[in-house]
């Protein structure tokens, strides 16, 4: 990873597959994520071939198709699993999972919690629109953010707060961003990509078609940048920021929590014939004699 250069900018600008038509609704928040992603990738100075973008199943998961870089698109709920395996195989690969809130917190919840615990050096950008977009507007685990619920019913439990969950589960980088502010998003993404552990970015990315409550306007009104001076390494301070939403109704945007991380370095796993040749079976044989 080097610094931004005109050359990497050119590579990222060049769409690998210019024939691909973007299939989001006009005004979808995910456009902002796409723009911010490109900026952040250029900023950290990686080339497209050094990046693996793992998409989820959902509108959000399409992001990986609209820009250069290796892309893998698996099953609903699966992105963090594939990302983990690829990262274990090639430790210096920049691995970014791009998934929806349904993908991550409903069907993919099992992966989410455990990847937070494992803390591999990769990023999840969770494009949180508070609904299932692709399947046309059903409730997701984050549905109901900021809404006053008279009483919770079995059909409508309270929303999941991914930031709280990630901190609890052991993620070492937890941030929030709003895709209507791509400049700020790019800043947060770049920090996430550079983080040497698991970085979770809860990106509020409005669904203009199905979420008539959490609109861009609503997010603008109900969010604010985390004030300078917030000590992200202080877990209690991170928690206080999140609690603040309950008191004042303002979602904190920025890096909420960040723990120092020291990971043991791993070598890339052997792939080529010459790396796999000349294996000595003796250490295994000796066990069986």
């Amino acid at each position: 990873m080097s610094a931004a250069s005109p050359e990497t900018a050119r590579l990222w600008e060049k769409n690998a597959f210019p024939r691909h038509r973007i299939q989001w609704c006009p005004g979808c928040g995910d456009f902002g994520v796409l723009a911010a992603l490109k900026t952040a990738l250029v900023r950290i100075g990686v080339s497209p071939h050094e990046v693996l973008l793992v998409g989820g199943i959902g509108c959000s998961g399409q992001t990986r198709n609209y820009l250069n870089g290796n892309g893998f698109h698996g099953t609903h709920g699966g992105p963090l699993g594939y990302a983990l395996g690829a990262k274990m195989a090639v430790p210096d690969l920049t691995v970014i999972a791009l998934a929806g809130d349904g993908d991550t917190l409903a069907i993919g919840m099992e992966s989410f919690i455990h990847v937070c615990r494992r803390d591999p050096a990769m990023t999840l950008i969770m494009m949180n629109n508070g609904v299932y977009g692709l399947t046309r507007g059903q409730d997701s685990p984050t549905t109901g953010l900021g809404q006053i619920m008279e009483e919770h019913t079995e059909e409508h439990p309270p929303f999941v707060d991914p930031a709280r969950l990630a901190i609890t589960a052991g993620a070492t980088f937890v941030a929030q961003s709003f895709s209507g502010d791509p400049k700020h998003c790019a800043e947060i993404y770049a920090q996430a990509f550079r983080h040497p552990g698991f970085a979770m970015v809860n990106d509020f990315s409005p669904c203009v078609t199905y979420n008539k409550f959490n609109t861009s306007g609503w997010y603008r009104e109900h969010s604010e940048h985390i004030p300078d001076g917030h000590d992200a390494s202080d877990k209690a301070a991170a928690w206080a920021l999140l609690d603040d939403f309950d008191r004042r109704g303002k979602l904190p945007l920025g890096v909420i929590y960040r723990a120092p991380r020291h990971k043991k370095a791993h070598a890339r796993l052997p792939v080529w014939e010459e790396e796999l040749a000349g294996i000595d079976p003796e250490p295994m044989f000796s066990v069986f004699r």
């Binding site: 071939h49 090639v90 052997p270």
Partner: protein, 627 residues
């Protein structure tokens, strides 16, 4: 006097009595003396503590065809007090369960520390009985209870007149315990001597010169390895270039995970204990995308959970080896009992259709050698490859000459991987249309060969499409690989005997050895058969199988499941009728089951014989198992 030919069975209380410590030690000693060792039915329970456990060991001068029948020459009962499961049958569980299978003239040795068992009936059948207070000696005289099994080992060595000067046994103890100090070795040698003394006392007390069985060392030119089917698969996988393995603990696949966890890092690989079955599968897919030869292992319930990802691996043309160590199903079934019930799942499971290859091992040798093929085929055809085994194999142990492993260690060839130097400009398309159906595969990090891969239907660039003609083309490209496989790599079944005009016995999986044994037994009775045995099951090589099947007089498929899953495949693919001999009570096929079932088919024209109920001389379970 029977020399170098016996079946010994050690039984006791699971976890507490350390049953396999005794068989592990004996197995290694016998192997080091050049004898052949086969332990193919490890009886254990899915509870941890307290259930009955048993481990039969066949020892012979030449490699045994199979574990034969439920007949035992020497029975060793390690319990020394009441079975914690049963207040009514103190100290008799092993004897009650397995005493009925003791051969006339056989031997019973049991721990009588708590009380002496009434064995008059056994003695009336000519069985020599050796009560041995092993635990009492260990506790009171040696002051170290764990030596009780060494006392039993010493007793057995004396009974078998084997390694009486402890040359092999001493070396074994030193190899295992010297790092803990000479004292540990010495106390074990002393324990063995106590066992021997106790046996000598009983021998002379009864005026017996010997017990009628003896083992004599046979000098062997080369070292042998004693290992389980799972160990063979795991070792084969490493040598075949697998460098990423993930699994979620499940019986009987866990020991693959455990072995690889220890050995994989030495070869630069990594092992992941996934947080669940799907994470394991996904991580292995991720590693494979990165270019690493990767595998997952599980058993029925876990494979079921992986099926969504199986479809994905097929659709994304991701190479992946899936080791299915079958156990008795459905649902949680009988986790510690064997069955061949997953064939239909391996062949058909998943929504939609994908290319896939199904290989099946029938012996510990094949667990090893098919591992090379599985990784090679996955790589070449860029699709999931099942490697099936079953609990009888996974946990069974056998010695094999070391040269078998070195001779079958195949060189690793990476197929179709694109190197940076192969790519020019932006022309790389991951799913390029080819005649073989196989597209050049780039791995992450290759400049100019950036890939887009999606399980959602895509065109040759990897980008999503529902265009009818593109969908048709990419589907056909994917499936075309299977035609290429049938032409280039499919193998015919193994054939034992001449198929001309005789009944064909057909099998797959761990029934191979008992099938060969049964074939020999039937031949001795004047019934000639030919054994057709499958390792490469799917895609089904009709062109290689049909000519063979036409030669036989009738087809009798022998399988350890209820329906006859291979029989169904054969009927469907070759449009021929099959008869079936089936067993699914959890115990492995014994030679007598097969011979009896085949006789019944031949005599009455019976179409389906369900062994364990109808077969006249089948080994029928009468004592219900507590697990």
């Amino acid at each position: 006097m029977v020399v170098n030919n016996l079946k010994l069975l050690v039984g006791g209380v699971q976890l507490r009595d350390a049953v396999t410590t005794v068989t592990d030690i004996l197995g290694k000693l016998f192997m080091r003396a050049g004898l052949h060792v086969l332990a193919m039915e490890r009886g254990y329970a899915s509870t941890i503590y307290g259930a009955h456990q048993f481990d039969p060991l066949v020892v012979s001068a030449s490699a045994p065809l199979s574990y034969g029948d439920d007949r035992t020459d020497i029975l060793v009962a390690l319990e020394h007090d009441a079975n914690p499961d049963s207040s009514i049958q103190p100290n008799r569980d092993t004897i009650l369960r397995h005493g009925k299978n003791l051969k006339e003239g056989g031997v019973l040795i049991y721990d009588n520390s708590a009380e002496t068992v009434e064995t008059g009936e056994l003695q009336a059948r000519g069985i020599k009985v050796f009560p041995l207070p092993a635990r009492r000696i260990a506790q009171r005289e040696l002051k170290l209870e764990v030596t009780k099994n060494t006392i039993v080992t010493g007793a057995l060595l004396r009974l078998l007149e084997f390694d009486m000067d402890y040359v092999l046994f001493g070396a074994y103890l030193e190899g295992r315990f010297l790092s803990k100090g000479r004292g540990v070795v010495d106390i074990n040698l002393e324990a063995a001597r106590r066992g021997r003394a106790a046996v000598e006392e009983i021998l002379s007390g009864n005026g017996w010169e010997s017990v009628g069985y003896r083992l004599e060392p046979q000098p062997s030119a080369e070292p042998n390895l004693l290992l389980t089917g799972n160990e063979a698969v795991a070792m084969g996988s490493i040598l075949a270039g697998c460098r990423f393995y993930s699994g979620y603990p499940i019986t009987p696949a866990t020991s693959i995970l455990e072995f690889l966890d220890v050995h994989m890092p030495r070869y630069g690989g990594r092992v992941l204990q996934g947080q669940n079955e799907r994470e394991s599968m996904r991580a292995a897919i991720g590693a494979s995308i990165a270019g690493v030869r990767s595998a997952v292992g599980s058993s029925g319930p876990g494979i079921s959970l992986k099926i969504e990802e199986l479809g994905l691996a097929g659709a994304t043309e991701t190479p992946l080896v899936i080791i299915d160590t079958q156990r008795a199903g459905p649902a949680t079934g009988m986790p510690t009992k064997s069955e061949q019930g997953d064939l239909a799942m391996a062949i058909y499971a998943g929504h939609g259709e994908i290319p896939r290859i199904v290989l099946s091992a029938g012996t510990i040798e094949e667990c090893y050698s098919l591992a090379f093929e599985a990784f090679d085929l996955a790589d070449k055809y860029q699709c999931p490859v099942f490697l099936l085994s079953d609990l009888t194999l996974t946990d069974g142990r056998q010695n094999l000459p070391q040269s078998f492993f070195t001779e079958n260690q195949k060189p690793i060839v990476r197929h179709g991987l694109v190197r940076a130097s192969d790519v020019r400009g932006d022309g790389y398309h991951r799913f390029e249309m080819t005649e073989s159906g196989i597209s050049p595969r780039s791995i992450v990090g290759t400049p100019d060969a950036i890939f887009k891969v999606s399980g959602t239907e895509h065109d040759e660039t990897g980008l999503i499409t529902t265009d009818p003609s593109k969908r048709k083309a990419i589907f056909e490209k994917r499936m075309r690989k299977m035609q290429t496989y049938l032409k280039e790599d499919a193998k015919p079944p193994q054939v034992f005997g001449s198929p001309d005009g005789v009944p064909l016995l057909i099998g797959w999986g761990s029934t191979k050895m008992p099938l060969l044994d049964a074939q020999a037994r039937l031949r001795a009775e004047g019934i000639d058969t030919c054994l057709i045995y499958f390792t490469h099951i799917w895609p089904f090589p009709v062109h290689l199988v049909q000519p063979l099947l036409r030669q036989g007089s009738m087809l009798i498929v022998v399988e350890q499941n209820y329906a006859g899953q291979l029989a169904d495949v054969i009927q469907q693919e070759c449009l021929v009728e099959t008869r079936r001999v089936l067993k699914y009570n959890g115990r492995p096929f014994y030679t007598a089951d097969i011979a009896g079932g085949v006789r019944q088919v031949l005599a009455g024209g019976t179409r389906v014989v369900r062994v364990g109920e109808e077969a006249p001389d089948a080994a029928i379970e009468t004592v219900p198992e507590g697990d």
